[in-house]
C-alpha cells in the first residue's frame, strides 16, 4: 500500500492485514511504555482543513506511539486561510520532507487528488474528505465489530472476518463519509449491511450499493441485527428541509430508550450500539443508549489509535507495495459504447 484513500478499493487481504496489525498495536497500548521505535526519524504531517480534534489527536497519538515526528498543520491560522492552494501547500510539505500526510478536507476527493497529482511523494492518508470516505473510521469500526464477533463466537479476533454479521447503519447516509467507508469495508469483510434512514438522506444510486436499504428502523431492528451504528446528524441538515423537524427525525430514526428496550424484548443480548462521535444525545441516540453496556463508543475511540498506528506503520514501514489501496481509475478510456477508440 502506498496510500490509504478509501475502503472502496481496499482488497480483503489488505483489510485483514490492517486489522491484524492493529491487534498487535493494541497490545503495545496495554504496555507500561506505549511506544515503538518503528517510525523514528519519519515525519507525519496532520493537514487538517476542517476542525476535528478527535481525529487529529487520534492520528497524533498513533504517530507518536510509533516514534514519528508529528507536525500539525491546521488550515485556520495558516497560509491556507490566506488563499494558498492545495498544490502549493502540498509542495511546501514535500519540500519539508514529509513522509506521510494525514489529510482532513471538506472537499470530496482532495486526498485522492493529492495522491495522484504528483505534487508530493509522501504517503497520503485520508482522514475524512467531504462526503466521500473516512477509511480509518471504518477500519476502527470493523476492528471493534470483529473483536465483538469473535467474542460472541468464542474465537480469537486476529485473522477472522465478519462473515454472517448483520450490521445496521442508521441516519444521514447521503452526507456521511463514515457510512460510505463502512458499507464497502464491512461488505468486503463478509458482513450483511442494511442502511436505514429517511429517503431524503439516502443518495440517488444507493440501489447499486452492496447492501439493503430500509426506511423503518423498528422493522430493521426486528430483523435481529448484531450491531447498530448510529450516525451523527449534522446541524446544517436540520435547516435544509431534508425532514420536517428534529423531533420527527428523532422519533423515526433516533435510537431512543424504547428501541433500547426493544433489543432486550427481542432477546438480542449480544447486539451492540455504535456511534462514531461526537454524539448528539437526545437526537440520534438517547443518553441511556449511549451509556448502556451495549455501547461501544469508547472502545471505538480506543481502537482508533491502534488502527491508525497500523495504517501509518504499513504505509511507511510495511515494505511491499503490491496492492495499492488507491483507486486505480484509468483516465481517458474515452468510453465508447459502440466502438473502442482507435488506440
Amino acid at each position: 500500500m502506498k496510500h490509504l484513500l478509501s475502503t472502496h478499493d481496499l482488497a480483503l487481504h489488505d483489510a485483514l492485514r490492517l486489522l491484524d496489525t492493529a491487534e498487535e498495536m493494541a497490545a503495545v497500548g496495554e504496555r507500561e511504555i506505549k511506544k515503538l521505535p518503528a517510525l523514528r526519524g519519519r515525519t507525519v504531517v496532520n493537514l487538517f482543513y476542517e476542525d476535528s480534534t478527535r481525529t487529529r489527536i487520534s492520528f497524533e497519538a498513533a504517530a507518536k506511539r510509533l516514534s514519528a515526528d508529528v507536525i500539525n498543520f491546521a488550515a485556520k491560522g495558516s497560509s491556507v486561510s490566506k488563499g494558498e492552494s492545495l498544490k502549493d501547500t502540498a509542495q511546501t510539505l514535500e519540500a519539508m520532507s514529509a513522509d506521510a500526510v494525514v489529510i482532513r478536507h471538506p472537499a470530496s476527493g482532495a486526498p485522492a487528488r493529492l495522491a495522484a497529482s504528483g505534487w508530493i511523494d509522501a504517503a497520503v492518508l485520508n482522514a475524512g474528505d467531504g462526503t466521500h470516505e473516512h477509511p480509518t473510521q471504518a477500519l476502527l469500526d470493523a476492528f471493534t465489530l470483529r473483536r465483538h464477533w469473535a467474542k460472541v463466537a468464542g474465537t480469537g479476533s486476529p485473522g477472522s472476518d465478519l462473515t454472517g454479521m448483520r450490521v445496521l447503519i442508521v441516519g444521514d447516509i447521503l452526507h456521511s463519509r463514515v457510512a460510505r467507508s463502512n458499507v464497502w469495508l464491512l461488505k468486503t469483510l463478509g458482513a450483511e449491511v442494511t442502511l436505514v434512514g429517511p429517503p431524503t438522506l439516502l443518495p440517488v444510486g444507493v440501489d447499486t450499493w452492496p447492501c439493503t436499504v430500509r426506511y423503518n428502523l423498528d422493522e430493521a431492528l426486528a430483523d435481529r441485527p448484531d450491531a447498530v451504528m448510529m450516525l451523527r446528524l449534522q446541524a446544517e441538515r436540520m435547516n435544509a428541509a431534508f425532514f420536517p423537524s428534529t423531533r420527527e427525525y428523532s422519533r423515526r430514526w433516533g435510537f431512543d430508550d424504547a428501541r433500547l428496550a426493544a433489543l432486550d424484548t427481542l432477546g438480542l443480548g449480544d447486539t451492540v450500539i455504535m456511534h462514531p462521535g461526537p454524539m448528539n444525545r437526545g437526537l440520534e441516540i438517547s443518553a441511556a443508549a449511549a451509556d448502556s453496556v451495549r455501547s461501544t463508543v469508547l472502545a471505538q475511540v480506543r481502537n482508533g489509535v491502534s488502527v491508525r498506528m497500523a495504517a501509518l506503520y504499513l504505509l511507511l514501514a510495511g515494505g511491499t507495495h503490491d496492492h495499492p489501496a488507491a483507486p486505480t481509475v484509468r483516465e481517458n478510456p474515452a468510453l465508447s459504447p459502440t466502438k473502442e477508440p482507435a488506440v
Binding site: 470530496s108 476527493g109 467531504g130 440517488v204 481509475v329 481517458n332 468510453l335 465508447s336 459502440t338
Partner: protein, 451 residues
Amino acid sequence: MTGAEPTPGNGYLIRGASPLGGPRQDLLIRDGLIARVGPGAAPDPGTRVIDADGLIALPGMVDLHTHLREPGREDAETVETGSRAAALGGFTAVHAMANSSPVADTAGVVEQVYSLGERAGWVEVRPVGAVTVGLAGERMAELGAMAESRARVRVFSDDGICVSDPVLMRRALEYVKAFDGVIAQHAQEPRLTEGAQMNEGEVSAVLGLTGWPAVAEESIIARDVLLAQHVNSRLHVCHVSTAGSVEILRWAKARGISVTAEVTPHHLLLTDDLVRSYNPVYKVNPPLRTADDVQALREALADGTIDAVGTDHAPHPSEHKECEWAQAAMGMTGLETALSVVQHAMVETGLLDWEGFARVTSTRPAEIGRLAHQGRPLAEGEPANLILVDPAARWTVDPHRMATMGRNSPFAGLQLPGRVSATFYRGHPTVLDGALNTPLTPAAKETAWTG
C-alpha cells in the same frame, strides 16, 4: 454578399478532393468564392495548386458555442488565440458567448468582440448577446440594439446561467422575433442544482459529490419548448446532455415546435465514470453523464433530433483546474478536437456519413445562427469557407501543442482520427498543411462581406 476579396496570385486550385466524401473533384477558389467545381481543371499561371489526394472537402465548421473570454479574462483566452484554435480545428465561424467581463449585453461590447474577430482574421467571430443585463436574470438586455449593431447579433444567451424566470424567458422568446433572433437556453433549474458537482447517479453516490440531476435540465427544456410553442418563437437548447432531454426534443419537433438543439463533442464521448479520478479536467457544466445518455445523444444527432454540434470550448487557466474538484472551474477546451471526436463518435460508428457530418457541424449551425455565408454547399459561386480533412490520419491529443491558451482538454493522451489539413476562410487559407498559415489581411476585410 456584396463583394469578394482578391486572393493572392490567381487563387487556389484544390486538386482531387472528395467533396463530402463523394467522387473526387477539383475546386478552384478565387476572389473569396468557389469559382469552379469539376474534374481535371488546368491551373492558370499564378494559381497555387493544392494536392488534396485522399482529403475530404467539407464546408467550414460553424460553432454555435465558444467561450473566447475576451474582454475580461485574457489570461484564459483571447479572441486572437481562440480564433487561431478555431481555424486549426476546421472552423470558419464561431459564436462568442456573452459571459465575458464586461458581459456582452450592450451594442458596445458585441461590436468590440466583433471588431476583435475581424482584426484577428482567422475565422468569422459572431458575438452572442446576453439575454439579461449582466446575466443577472432580472431584466432584458437591449437585444434590439445588439441586433442592429455592426455585430448583427442573432443568437442571445445567458449561457452559464439559465434564464430560469419563466416570464422573462417568455418575453425574451417573443421579443427576438422582431429581428429573427433566437434564444439559446442553458437549461439548468437552479434550485435543483445548488452546489452541484457532477451527474447525480451511481457514481456521485460513491464519490460523495453533490449531484446535478438530469431532471434539472429536462424540466427546463420541457417548459421552454411549451413556451416556444405558445408564443410561436424560435428556441435553441445549448449543450443537451441527457437521454430524457432527447425524448422531450423529439416530442417537441414532432409537434412542429420551432426548437433546435446542440450537443458538445465531450458529451458524445465521455461519461461520468471518469470523475472517479477526481481530476477536475472532467468537470464541466452540464456534467458528463452515463453511457446510456451518450448513446441517446449520438442517435439523436444522427436522426436530426439534435441539430448541431457546439463545442462549448471553455478554456481556463491551469490554477483553476489544479485544485480540489469542488473548487475547480467547470469547462473543457474543444475547438481543436471537435472534428476528430465527432468523426470518432459519429462517422466511424456509421451513425453519420460525411454529408451528415457537414450538416451537424456546418449547415445547421449556420442556419440557426443566421450566418448567410457559412454552411453553404460546395458549389460554384458559393463563398469559399471550406476545409480539407484527412480522415485516415491518427493523432494523439496533446493540450500543450494547441493554439488555445487553455490546457484543460479531457481528451489529452487519447488517439483520435481525422486531421484538418487546410481551412479556407473567405477564400483565404488560414490553415495549410495542418498548420496555421496567415490570417485574412485587414485590407481585404474592408472590402469583403460587409452587410
